[in-house]
């Protein structure tokens, strides 16, 4: 509250100073009816940038716009051409004459300057303080490409891009429904970033929409450059390591979420859309699971979950077993283990940490390097460093296998954000396993479990559907049962409309009978 009041005061001060400096310029926020004053006011507001174009079409009509962000073709054809044919008409008539979809009349300076910076053309007529604002913006946008961070074998191959209107049009393409609600917000005192809140009325719960809307509105931020920042600003607990909202660049995953009663946010300038509330388990589900046969999908999901478990616990178990509990390892396995470790001078915990550090280094280098060099680094890192490390006696063969396996496993997570967390989570557990053995691993396991139980995502429990137990939702969590069995929407989004589809199976004989009847 305090901040807002403060801002208003400074604004008043600013306008006062303006008045003192240039008494000619309009008082307050309203345009003057004189042409030169109008141009002066615009120039003053924008500090006369070099791409500001002021065009006098006839002695009475002036057009102001910013070069580079307006579509030149429509400027010539639709605006200048039609304005040339008239003479000293009122703004209302000009508004009717222009064959442009988004035309508006305003008297507000700030609003019209913002609109101009957003690709609008301002048309001023001598003698009127009202001006016409016509939108003919054209931004350079990347063309649609395949989503690179979330690739998928079976399913659509299109991803969101940085332009909000393209992204929304993709969603509209998937969900042709009047109930799809889109609410527009503007955030960022400096950047004035537009963002849209998307949900399907009657499927998304009203109270969740209200909560999210309130959270977005209460943000008081300077700049918003990416949706990831927004996701962190509106989540429930910013101290936790786990992401509570999904960031996806796949429109089909986004729409699937909306259809399950989740809420989505698309931020202009970011190719990642936000989906929430999102439960922990859902981060490990891929949209592709719905496209595969249920048996295969279940198998792949179980594979993915065991991969997560392996990725987090395999190295700690190795460290704990070799440091404290070698009794647990059967003799036939103990012999090759100790043979491969015979030359290694470090204790297992140090050995594991060094190798994990190597792998993380490789991954980070691979992500930052240009794609052409990246492959080379993979070969250099994977083969050369790996074999050399074993030959030099820094690590054992078996640990290299374990580390490579757990690094591979961590990349099976369909959400990059969650995959990162899974990888980082390993380090503290390795350390605690090196200190307290299996007891330490169990302690860490319990801590993570309790931590997950304590989290929530937009007020929904993060550990759903396991706890609070909603057995019905278990059918589409770790397993993915056949379609007729998962005809309900998940319960934790508290949707009003429970049925995804009618479950009556249509048998071929029935269809034949129907045809006969017709």
């Amino acid at each position: 509250m305090f901040r807002k009041k403060h801002k208003k005061q400074t604004f008043v001060l600013n306008t006062l100073i303006e008045d003192n400096k240039e008494p000619k310029v309009t008082s307050g926020k309203i345009f003057s009816s004189s042409k030169s004053d109008f141009i002066e006011a615009i120039k003053h507001k924008t500090h006369s940038p070099s791409d500001l174009i002021v065009k006098t079409i006839s002695p009475t009509i002036t057009v102001v716009y910013v070069d580079n962000i307006v579509d030149n073709q429509s400027l010539n054809k639709l605006i200048i051409h039609s304005l040339n044919q008239i003479n000293n008409e009122s703004p209302e008539i000009i508004k009717d004459i222009l064959s442009i979809a988004e035309v508006d009349i305003t008297v507000d300076i700030d609003k019209s300057v913002l609109a101009m910076l957003n690709g609008n053309v301002l048309i001023h007529v001598e003698g009127y303080s009202r001006i016409v604002v016509a939108k003919i913006s054209s931004y350079e946008a990347r063309s649609l490409t395949t989503p690179e961070n979330e690739s998928q074998v079976i399913g659509s191959q299109v991803g969101f891009n940085e332009d909000i209107s393209t992204s929304i049009s993709l969603v509209r393409k998937y969900i042709l429904n009047p109930d799809l609600c889109i609410e527009k917000f503007t955030l960022g005192a400096q950047t004035n970033t537009t963002l849209s809140l998307l949900y399907i009325k009657n499927i998304a719960a009203e109270e969740k929409v209200n909560t999210l809307r309130q959270r977005i509105e209460s943000i008081n931020i300077d700049a918003l450059l990416d949706s990831a920042v927004l996701a962190e600003l509106i989540d429930d607990n910013s101290l936790t390591i786990f992401p509570q909202m999904l960031l996806t660049e796949r429109p089909d995953r986004f729409c699937d979420g909306l259809l399950n009663g989740k809420l989505g946010i698309i931020v202009n300038g970011s190719s990642m859309a936000i989906l929430c509330p999102y439960a922990f388990v859902e981060f490990f589900q891929s949209r592709e699971d719905q496209n595969l046969r249920w048996f295969l999908a279940t198998f792949i999901r179980i594979l993915r979950f065991s991969a997560v478990f392996l990725s987090v616990y395999l190295t700690p178990i190795y460290v704990a077993s070799l440091t404290f509990h070698y009794e647990v390892i059967p003799q036939p396995l103990l012999v090759p283990l100790s043979e491969s470790r015979a030359l290694v001078p470090f204790p297992p915990i140090l050995e594991a940490l060094i190798l994990e550090f190597f792998i993380e280094l490789l991954r980070e280098a691979g992500a930052r390097l240009p794609t052409k060099v990246g492959q080379t680094i993979g070969i250099v890192g994977g083969i050369v460093i790996g074999t050399a490390a074993v030959q030099a006696g820094i690590t054992s063969n078996i640990l290299i296998i374990i580390i490579a396996l757990s690094a591979l496993a961590s990349f099976t997570t369909p959400s990059y954000m969650m995959g990162n967390v899974i990888r980082v989570l390993r380090f503290p557990i390795i350390i605690i396993a090196g200190i307290w053995g299996y007891y330490g691993i169990m302690l860490a396991f319990c801590l993570i479990l309790v931590h997950l139980l304590r989290q929530s995502s937009l007020g929904s429990p993060y550990s759903a559907p396991f706890y609070p137990p909603r057995m019905i939702d278990w059918r589409d969590s770790i397993a993915r049962l056949p379609m007729p069995l998962i005809s309900n929407r998940p319960k934790d989004t508290r949707t009003k409309n429970q049925d995804k589809f009618k479950t009556e199976p249509v048998k071929p004989e029935k269809l034949d009978k129907l045809k006969v009847n017709e």
Binding site: F324, H325, E327, V328, I329, P330, L333, W436, G437, Y438, Y439, I441, M442, L443, F445, C446, L447, L449, V450, H451, L453, R454, S463, F466, Y467, P468, P469
Partner: protein, 371 residues
């Protein structure tokens, strides 16, 4: 009756979760080595003692729930205050809080004892108790929902331990059980009494009752939970009795863990190392629920926030744990607690029910008016 606890629906739990609460509260450190104690009294008829103990737990829970139903939505502490007046009621509440705290303390000590005997003989027990207490504090501060969640996962994740106990059956000898009813009935009853420390935990229903959403379903789920625990105890007891010979069992302190230790799999040996560490998740709900029960009572006596309470409580527990040095001490305290618990859990609820019923009869007029 008038004083009822008002609990917001947000903090309430579903009735069927009581099943998990009851089973996880009952199974804890006791199951690791209860066989020897019962065997000492009931000899090879110990399994009959287990059945008897299970049966009596059902009867007692029946009385407990009856008492709670008289009050609608209130816990044991509120009932005490209503029945015995403020001062005597608060004294009884204090005794119950003390009982919960001692139970918490002994579960912690027993577990630390197991860890330091089997897994880390040279590790300082202080570290284990500090780490465990911190974990418990973190869980407790999440509120009842999180504690119940831990007990839910503890049950599901702990299920794999039961099928593992099939392996010792290979070496079992059914003749050890014969002849049945060889021991006299008094010894068998004594054996059932020795089950006390192992089987207690279900008295949490006294405290958790007002937090349950569907009060009419409480009975079903609690009794189901008791049945499952009794079944688990009976199975473990039968396997132990058929596996160990009499003399062996009399000398085995942690019979269940010894059962685990003979299992060999192609990729894993000495499975008891894993199970003992895994036991952490089994005792975690135990600890949290006793702590929570003590907290619920304490807020009626003093004006403390949950954060303050849990830190003070843990500090006291930690200081006390510094005084415990030997296995014999822990054993003695556990025997004492077992005796107190027998009175508090197995006899007192019946008395309380009769008192509550009498009060209701005498003040019946008022009660009817209110209704």
């Amino acid at each position: 009756m008038k004083n009822t606890l008002e609990i917001s629906p947000k903090d309430m739990i579903n009735a069927f979760l009581l099943f998990f609460v009851i089973t996880t509260c009952q199974t804890g450190v006791g199951i690791q080595g209860f066989q020897r104690l019962i065997y000492a009294d009931a000899k090879h008829d110990a399994w009959i003692s287990v059945i008897l103990a299970g049966l009596s737990s059902h009867i007692i829970v029946f009385f407990m729930i009856k008492t709670l139903e008289l009050y609608g939505s209130n816990d044991l502490y509120g009932i005490h205050q209503d029945l015995f007046g403020k001062h005597l009621g608060n004294l009884l509440n204090f005794i119950y809080i003390l009982y919960c705290s001692v139970a918490f303390f002994l579960i912690l000590e027993n577990y630390i004892e197991v860890i330091s005997t089997w897994v880390f003989p040279r590790l300082n027990p202080k570290f284990i108790s500090i780490s465990l207490l911190l974990l418990v504090i973190y869980t407790f501060l999440g509120g009842l929902r999180v504690i119940v969640g831990v007990s839910f996962f503890s049950f599901l994740l702990g299920l794999w331990l039961l099928p593992v106990l099939i392996f010792p059956l290979k070496f079992s000898n059914i003749e050890y059980l014969l002849p049945i009813l060889d021991t006299d009935i008094i010894s068998i009853l004594k054996g059932a009494q020795s089950m006390t420390f192992t089987i207690i935990g279900f008295e949490i229903i006294n405290i958790i009752y007002p937090f349950v959403k569907e009060k009419d379903k409480v009975k079903r789920h609690v009794h189901l939970g008791l049945l499952v625990t009794s079944f688990i105890y009976l199975t473990v007891m039968l396997i132990t009795l058929t596996y160990f010979s009499g003399e062996q069992l009399a000398k085995t302190i942690w019979a269940t863990l010894s059962l685990f230790s003979i299992i060999r799999l192609p990729f894993i040996e000495r499975i008891e190392f894993i199970t003992i560490c895994f036991w952490l998740i089994i005792i975690l709900p135990n600890l949290c629920f006793y702590l929570w029960a003590a907290y619920r009572g304490s807020i009626r006596l003093f004006n403390v926030s949950s954060k303050k309470f849990v830190w003070i409580f843990s500090t006291i527990i930690f200081i006390f744990s510094l005084f415990v040095q030997t296995r014999i001490q822990i054993n003695t305290y556990t025997t004492y607690l077992s005796k107190v618990a027998f009175i508090l859990v197995f006899i007192y609820p019946v008395v309380l029910y009769i008192l509550a019923l009498m009060k209701k009869k005498f003040s019946g007029k008022y009660g009817e008016k209110n209704e």
